[in-house]
Amino acid sequence: MIEYAIVPHWFMGYNIILELIFFVITLLVGTYALKIYQLSTQRQSKLFGISFLMIALAYLIQSVLNFAAGQSMAQGCNMQSMSLVHYLGNAGIYAHIILFTSGLVTIAYMTLKIKDAKAYLLFLAAILGVLAFGSNPIYLYYVISSMLLVYISFYYLRNYLQSKKTNALIILIAFLFLLFGKIHFIFSINHGSFYVAGHFLELVAYSLILINLLTVIRRK
């Protein structure tokens, strides 16, 4: 199985709960964005909704994968079950990487405000191609995700500077926390404490996104 992070023993279980929380929040945001798309037929809302649903699925797979890994370690394994865990583990990690990266690519494409499916597919294929053929896909995934989050954060910085509104500032800070979280995950390949820090930074980020969503829903 690909080693994607060192998980401190005491943190096992908490990581699964946090990933399920991220799954629920991103699922809520994605679903609500698609509801807005149904009402307005606004393309940006559709792309945003799809991207958050992809990210939600990525977290669900990650949490199931971590749960399965934890269970197999707790029960002890024979050779046959080890190879199954190995296979499922690799498939799960790749599914998570593909979905999360595709989600970020879709948000980045949304911010470009262009309407060209070929450009989107080229953008997506180039990034997934690098991940597929790179020598260390996990490390590349963290680096590429961080680069995409830098770009997306700049977009939200510009958005805040134009609007000067609190909710625009909240979403900017949320994406900055997601960026810091991903940067921490780069180092989690060798240090478990970064894995924990990455999760808590993401928790702050998704809590801010949830606050933003709840603020909109309450105003209704």
Partner: protein, 92 residues
């Protein structure tokens, strides 16, 4: 005010003009009351018809427009749409 907010606002204004006339209004009245150029009007109205917000009715006396249920839904949920798109930076 952002460009997208203006676009959402223009759509709201067009649909509201149609609604205020009990759902049937002639193109010239919409054009006048929504304060759009001919080109902009054609573009927006074509888009609204294609996306199912408005129905174009043709009769001997000329063309009229009426709202679909989707058009009424847009008007009632307009503030929610604007709040969401502004909050998450989804303006076009």
């Amino acid at each position: 005010m952002s460009k997208k907010r203006a676009r959402l606002q223009i759509i709201y204004d067009i649909l509201n003009v149609i609604k205020e006339k009990d759902g049937r209004i002639k193109p010239t009245n919409v054009l006048y009351k929504s304060n759009l150029s001919n080109q902009m009007f054609d573009e927006y109205m074509g888009d609204l018809i294609a996306k199912g917000f408005v129905i174009e009715n043709r009769s001997k006396s000329g063309r009229t427009y009426s709202l679909t249920q989707k058009g009424f839904d847009y008007l009632s949920k307009y503030q929610m749409i604007v709040d969401f798109t502004n909050s998450f930076g989804l303006s076009e």
